[in-house]
Amino acid sequence: MSNMKKKKLTPTEQKYAELVKSIEPKRPILKNCIKAFFVGGIICTIGQGLQLVFITYFNFNEKTSVGPTLVVLIFVAALLTGLGIYDHLGQWAGAGSAVPITGFANSIASASIEHRSEGFVLGVAGNMFRLAGAIIVFGVFSAFVVATIKITIKWLGVM
């Protein structure tokens, strides 16, 4: 619990929070970081491998090969979600499988599967961005901010 949150608590609650803290098992942060580093790295290496395959054998260049590479990664992640494998990978790898685009695909696919019982329109379509929606909103907004800064700097004639 953060210190800011703790300030709002009464003395008894603070004492209790300390008791809880002394008993609850800690998240194994170092172990989780190492797992995330390797799993995330492996996913990115696979992506890089796929890109090389598309460039070498399928007449794509470095720029155009990005599209098909992402499509394959997204497809595989969605398939693993549907087969009930990705959530187990996620529990083991944490951020390693959540941060790459496969994690984004998993959040959309899992929400779609979850709400299939409410129909295609209100269920699947209405809920598929339940988790991914926030990523898109902040992604688009940060892109806008960064682009604005870049344009401003250019306009000032620095670059």
């Binding site: 608590l9 009464t10 929070a17 098992p25 979600t81 959530d87 019982s117």
Partner: protein
């Protein structure tokens, strides 16, 4: 009859004529598999949604409990049930097919014992001849409503708990052979400022301790009166905290009689983090495992303290802390 401040003594000692527990695949592989009446290998129970699956499991538990009590469904005056779904749909929809006059209750995971206490109260006050109490939960419906989609690859901390897929039901009558419900203590809502929905054990432990303390005070007894005292779903973390709190409050609780349904239901090698949770946890362990042990003569007097976290998905997104309640029911053979 009221005893002390918040307890009821049932002088007529309502009898549990029949009880049943239904579980899902994970519970079927658990430590108490042999105490379930029905185990479904399929999380969907042959239905097209998890919500329907939960309702069907509850119906199966009720049907089996009625069958074992050897009375007719038409003789049951009231059906009291609770679950974790929004608007307690599992209970209400099961009541629709049962056709028994129905009282829906919500006490989150404490609904199991809240239902049993009220059922015994109705019989003891001669307001009913036969009452059925039940509770259910389903891992996938609870995850969907309270947390993330089941297939989402989010990482859970070691303090998280695993919602039990299961339903338990008990039929109570005025007299007969079987375990008797002798007293109950209704709990206050306690909030110690815990707001982490992945640490429900820590949030609920103070409520359990408060109710246990009140039960002992009202009835003027101590822990030695019981062969077994089990909390509903505190899990490893909450159980450890409860032991500490009881010690702080000067309550002597022998470690060999104090346990938790969430610790008993699964095997050690199952990936359930801190332990089991949900209405189905205390309901199936009590109506299956504990009552079976009582009928075999292994236990004479037990106290079940079902604990419930009274939050909603909206309340924790709004950063509210988690208020909790616990209800204790004493069953004697």
């Amino acid at each position: 009859m009221l005893k002390g401040h918040q307890s009821w003594i049932y002088n007529s000692k309502p009898t549990i004529l029949g009880s049943a527990a239904v579980g899902g695949p994970f519970e079927g592989n658990g430590a108490l598999a042999s105490d379930f009446d029905i185990i479904h290998e399929d999380l969907w129970v042959g239905q097209d949604s998890f919500e329907k699956a939960e309702k069907v499991m509850l119906e199966h538990a009720c049907a089996r409990a009625i069958e074992k009590s050897s009375i007719k469904k038409e003789d049951i005056n009231f059906f009291i049930s609770g679950d974790l779904m929004n608007q307690i749909t599992s209970s209400s929809f099961a009541a629709r097919s049962l056709g028994i006059p129905y009282l829906g209750i919500f006490g989150a995971c404490s609904s199991s014992m809240e239902g049993l206490a009220l059922a015994a109260q109705l019989i003891d006050s001669k307001s009913a001849k036969y009452v059925m109490a039940s509770a259910s939960s389903h891992n996938a419906t609870a995850e969907k409503q309270y947390r993330y989609p089941t297939e989402y690859g989010g990482q859970k901390p070691p303090t998280a708990q695993w919602t039990v897929t299961g339903a338990g039901a008990a039929v109570l009558g005025v007299d007969g052979i079987g375990p008797k419900v002798t007293s109950a203590t209704m709990g206050r809502v306690i909030d110690m400022g815990i707001s982490d929905p992945f640490n429900m054990g820590a949030a609920m432990a103070p409520a359990a301790v408060d109710t246990i303390e009140a039960h002992f005070r009202d009835l003027n007894i101590d822990a030695s009166y019981y062969d077994l005292i089990a909390t509903g779903d505190l899990g490893k973390v909450g159980h450890e905290i409860a032991i500490n709190l009881l010690k702080d409050h000067g309550i002597d609780m022998p470690s060999n009689i104090f346990t938790d349904c969430g610790l008993l239901i699964y095997k050690k090698d199952q990936p359930v983090f801190s332990g089991g949770s949900g209405c189905g946890c205390s309901a199936t362990v009590t109506y299956g495992h504990f009552l079976n042990r009582m009928r075999r003569g292994e236990l004479k007097r037990i106290l079940i303290v079902a604990t419930g976290a009274l939050m909603s998905p909206i309340s924790y997104q709004q950063k509210e802390s988690i208020p909790c309640v616990a209800h204790a029911v004493s069953i004697e053979m």
